[in-house]
Symmetry: none
Subunit: 207 residues, 4 copies
């Protein structure tokens, strides 16, 4: 967890970047390794030297996103919560969205790949669950509990609350960045506040 980034060579980075772009644009099954080699300006064989198979390349593209994005997202913010840095849950949600904004935009293709390919790759799904399901979900439950105890969250089932918040956020991200990127959206801050406002008057007990 400390230094798992084992010094990628220039070629490896080029391959990963090319693969990320192409997988996001045309899907995993719709992208050929020769296209990737071409875009990365390496020989086709080089890809297989570093990532044993095409599937291995997909995992290499998608894994760091799970490790670097989802895990830290919770770990960091959870600590802040417990350190009393977020008195109100609104602040926690806002932070979760705000802090990742940059990362989301930079890694949008990876996210797109993740969302699009998970249904077709059981092993991807497993890996995803391995990180999110068991590790993060537990911590999210702690957080929900924390705010429920503070009286800031409705007394619904924990999982329902998590689901509601998660889908509120994800639906916005998916809609804005994956399905309708060309629609004229409001500023991100405005949309963020709208999500919070909706959640606030909805499942969040004010007072």
């Amino acid at each position: 967890m400390t230094n798992n980034e084992p010094k990628l060579t220039k070629k490896q980075i080029a391959i990963l970047e090319a693969a990320t772009d192409l997988f996001a644009e045309k899907g995993y099954a719709g992208t050929s390794t020769s296209e990737i080699a071409n875009k990365a300006e390496v020989a086709e064989g080089t890809i297989f030297k570093h990532f044993k198979s095409k599937k291995g390349l997909l995992l290499a593209v998608v894994s760091p996103m799970m490790v670097k994005w989802l895990a830290p997202m919770i770990k960091k913010d959870l600590n802040k919560v417990l350190d009393q840095e977020f008195e109100y849950i609104q602040d926690f949600i806002r932070a979760m969205i705000e802090n990742r904004k940059e990362f989301i935009q930079k890694n949008l293709p990876m996210l797109k790949i993740l969302v699009q390919e998970i249904p077709f790759h059981p092993d991807l799904k497993e890996k995803f669950i391995e990180y999110v399901g068991n590790d993060i979900f537990d911590k999210l439950r702690e957080i929900v509990k924390y705010y429920q105890d503070k009286g800031q969250l409705a007394d619904m089932k924990t999982d329902t609350i998590i689901r509601t918040v998660a889908t509120s956020i994800l639906s916005y991200i998916v809609a804005r960045y994956v399905f309708l990127p060309e629609a004229n959206w409001d500023d991100e801050e405005v949309e963020t506040e709208r999500i919070i406002q909706i959640l606030e008057s909805g499942i969040i007990q004010n007072k």
Copy 2:
């Protein structure tokens, strides 16, 4: 609704069903025409006799869903709205979800295909917009206006309201039926009410 389905033969239906299942399961690009032929128990050539190309088959799978589901969904309910059958917007939303429930479950694979393939097929997107964007969106705007005038909807931008309601519903459908079908969900009625409740306290002005 009367006779637009120009008598599909048994084989055509078998092909469409096999294609629908396989596209949903493994994605369009990940499914081979020989697999489809195999599952439909027809010769591979038969597929191409009826649907000029693999892409043509995809459109044949997905088009009726747009024509039969989305268009009627609005047309019928819009009339009911204007006929004063839905005094409260909650009833309208409930009806939209309730009425389609059966159709959604029956045509879930199609919906899954639509959601998953739209990003990769500009022509699919166009066809989708052709049905939803220009025809249906306009009518949705009318409905929103109608309830805004009645004071039942917040005074936000029309499009924002539509988006919020739509993503609330879609996020539930996608989460429940596409991404996490094996999670233990509450009864559909309960979830439906939850959506309405969230929307109610959120963007819907009570009183």
Copy 3:
């Protein structure tokens, strides 16, 4: 040989005409039976009812040309020669070209097919030789002999003379109608005379 044209039905004629056009335009191997059916406005099965196979259709297209064109060409003119109607060989050659002109132009596609497909179909070649080699060639030899005896033809080998005349005529036809139809050629009469003139001062002894 008397009435071998066994009353062709309308559909049969349509098929033969469509096949002739398409074979000439795209070659035998490059034309599909469905294209032919399409152009002839009959069902694909109908083609096979009448002409057992695609190859059978080719033979049906090409055979009459050999029977109707080459055989009569000689028979008729040979008689005229022997009836003293052509005192000079020039008249005989001129007649051969003149008389067939209409037929050539009307049946150009068939001729094109014959020339183009003979190298690929041993049975076609055999059929051709059956008509030309054994039947016609013998009669041509008679004619050459006849004019050689009259002192109008050089004392070369009979076959060489036939070859020379034949290639002179054929090279003109092939060049004009098959390879370079769009070049600006002189009137047919002028070209005909040119062929004769060249043959005249070449292999034909004047006086």
Copy 4:
């Protein structure tokens, strides 16, 4: 002439040779790429690695013939003409036939392919015209003019003379090597002299 053949590998040569033989024997449309692969003893994929498509292979087979045969044929001999090496046009024609004899025999299949496929491939025709029509035709006109000025050629239209000589030569080549290779021809020298003799007494003014 020095290094335009950019080092063909053994496999590429094997493919080109197999394709040349098969195209000549069965025609382009009548030959399958798997047959070619088989004969060349390479994998089918290898063909497409080197020649992007079947059509590309056809061009690769036929192009060098145009570049190496037709262009040099004229260029070399034209210079000799202008260098006064051929005082009489007979010598020029004889040289044209003689010098190429070896090449013709070695590349007969290619020539056969060229003749047979040009009618079906507009792009082949264009390429052919590009080399023969504009480059060589002009030079041929110069040569004709040259000998007309010397009084050795009849005062006909330049193009007619070229056509006559060309068809005289081509008809002989096509007849001897393409259509009737098994007929008992005289020695090549004898036939060559015959062509010249016919042309001589025909269009060539013997002072």
